[in-house]
Each structure stands twice: as structure tokens, then as C-alpha cells.
Amino acid sequence: MNWLSIFIAGVITYFCRFSMVTFIKSEMLNEKTRLILSYVPSAVFPAIIFPAIFLNETGILVNINDPKIIGATIAIIVGYFSKNVIATILTGLISYWIIILLM
């Protein structure tokens, strides 16, 4: 990480923020583009989540009883029902800690 890469990443992010506000009216986005953009979070975040849970440090699949899989499962259940961001992260993290400390 260096200043230049942060700066470029910042400029790209800022471009995403202002370009539509400044130059485009919402009617100009066609319905299809708008619908596809609404799937962006569901397409982007699992690409980070899955490898971080199912792969170990060397990029090999972990066992089904890996603490990360158990912690993530608990977080998903808690998040789904509680709809609470902090509860989701904390229960996942705490159950993960309990398992790695016990094992």
C-alpha cells in the first residue's frame, strides 16, 4: 500500500460518487442497467467471503468442521434473524474465538 495507490483508488471511488450526480439524470440509466447494478453487492461480497472462510492461508479447502465455517454459520443465522450488524459480527467472532481456544 502506498500513497499513489490510495490516491488512485480514492479518485475512482469519488468518480463513482459524483459522475451520476453531476452528469446523468436517473432517467438516462436504462432499467436493465439499474437492475444489474442492484446485484453488485451480492456479486462482489461473496467473492471475498467464500475464500476467507473455505480456504486456508495456502489456498487449500478447509475441513467442514473448521472454526471459520462454524463461526460464519453462526453469524449468518444470527444476522438473518436479528437483522443486527454488530450482533452478526460479534457472535461470529466470539464463537470462532471460543472454538480456537478450546481446540
Binding site: S5, F7, T22, V40, A43, F45, A47, P51, G59
Partner: protein
């Protein structure tokens, strides 16, 4: 008719419940940056210059995992492309402002800010100055994010490595998308993207982080075709 400061305050109040997730998220980000071995000043600079929590975590995680700057920067762009959508929606309320104001307001648009301001603006379409809601919500969130990142950077140098704080990364993203598990089309896109990422994890330059979401979006366009046929 509400005054500018009333509307600004309303924005701050509306965003307040979201700070319950923003503040811990900021602390986690700051701590992760340090845990991954980055310089405290550079870690903080991402909060100031990029100012997008999820993308900042992706950025530091990829760089620490050996990805090239090009891949990390592109990923930030992919993650933040959703702002194009927010901007397109909010632009209808900001049309009357001059360019300078538009450029300033844009910097403060976030996921949570968009969510609350979009509701307010929708309900108060004919009110003058109601764009102050965006700036009230935006600045409140911005200050919270800056302070909590700094707190995390300080804490990160105290938290021991054995605790595996890195696991907070997938958990944070789970918290962001878990509500979409209620929608089957989103679940399908998530599975396609996630499984692709695992399979493609070892392709060069960590480019799985861009290729997998694109496969996911391809799946979403196929799903849309089926939905539209119905």
C-alpha cells in the same frame, strides 16, 4: 417549511442508528489495517481519501495477500460501482444545485446515508433545502468513520495476532449482505460468485476478486432474463 439547520439535524438524527454499525466497523477496519502490517498513516489515509468501508477492507486485504496495486485498485472500483446507482437516484433531488455543491455533496454519499436520505427526500419532494438532509447525514457519518478508524488503528497495535482478527473481514461482509438471503435471485448470484472465487482463487494477480463478481453479474443478467420473460 423546515429551515436548513432543521433539515441538517434531521439528517444527523436519521443516520444515528446506523452509527451503531459504522463505528465498530471503523474500529475493525483500523485494527485490521494494523494487523495486516500496514503503516498507521496509510491506513488512516484510506478513510480520508477512499472513504468507503467495505472497499477499504478489500483494498488492504488484497494488498496484504500479495495482490498487485492494479488489482486492488480495480477491486475498489468494482466494490464502489454501486455508488453509480446511488448517484443516479439522488441526482434527481440535486439537479438545482451548482456544480461545486454537487461535487462536495457527492463525497459524502455512503450506503447508509443514501438509504436514509433517499427515504426522506422521497417523502419531502417539494420542500426547499431538503438536500441538507444528505449533507447532515453524510457529515455525521463521515466524522464517526474518521474517529472510529483512528480508534481502531490505536487498538490494532494492542490486539494480539493470535486472536485472528482477520476473520472479522468475512463476518463484516456477511453482515452487509445477509438480509439479501431472503431473495432467491440474490442467493443464486452469491453462490455463483462465491464458488467461482474459491475455484479461481489461484489464478494470477489475485484477479479472482474481479473475475468472480463478473461471473456473478453474468448470472444476474441471466436471472433477469428469466424474470422478465415471466
Amino acid at each position: 417549511m423546515s429551515s436548513k439547520s432543521d433539515i441538517f439535524k434531521k439528517g444527523s438524527i436519521d443516520i444515528a442508528p446506523h452509527l451503531l454499525s459504522v463505528v465498530p466497523f471503523g474500529i475493525i477496519f483500523g485494527a485490521i489495517g494494523i494487523e495486516l502490517g500496514f503503516d498507521p498513516y496509510l491506513t488512516y489515509a484510506t478513510s480520508l481519501i477512499i472513504f468507503g468501508g467495505a472497499s477499504q477492507i478489500v483494498f488492504v486485504q488484497l494488498l496484504s495477500g500479495g495482490a498487485s496495486s492494479l488489482i486492488a485498485i480495480t477491486s475498489v472500483g468494482v466494490v464502489n460501482s454501486r455508488h453509480l446507482l446511488y448517484g443516479a437516484v439522488l441526482s434527481q433531488y440535486l439537479e438545482k444545485l451548482n456544480l461545486i455543491k454537487k461535487l462536495i455533496y457527492s463525497y459524502f454519499i455512503t450506503d447508509q446515508g443514501f438509504a436514509v436520505s433517499n427515504i426522506y427526500l422521497n417523502e419531502n419532494k417539494n420542500q426547499k433545502f431538503n438536500h441538507y438532509h444528505i449533507i447532515g447525514a453524510g457529515i455525521t457519518l463521515w466524522i464517526s468513520w474518521q474517529i472510529s478508524t483512528i480508534a481502531g488503528i490505536i487498538l490494532g497495535s494492542i490486539i494480539p495476532d493470535e486472536l485472528g482478527l482477520k476473520f472479522a473481514i468475512p463476518l463484516t461482509f456477511i453482515a452487509i449482505i445477509v438480509q439479501d438471503l431472503r431473495k432467491l435471485d440474490h442467493v443464486l448470484v452469491m453462490i455463483v460468485s462465491g464458488v467461482s472465487a474459491v475455484i479461481l482463487y489461484n489464478i494470477p494477480f489475485k484477479s479472482y476478486i474481479i473475475v468472480a463478481p463478473l461471473i456473478g453479474l453474468l448470472a444476474s443478467s441471466v436471472i433477469l432474463k428469466f424474470k422478465l420473460i415471466k
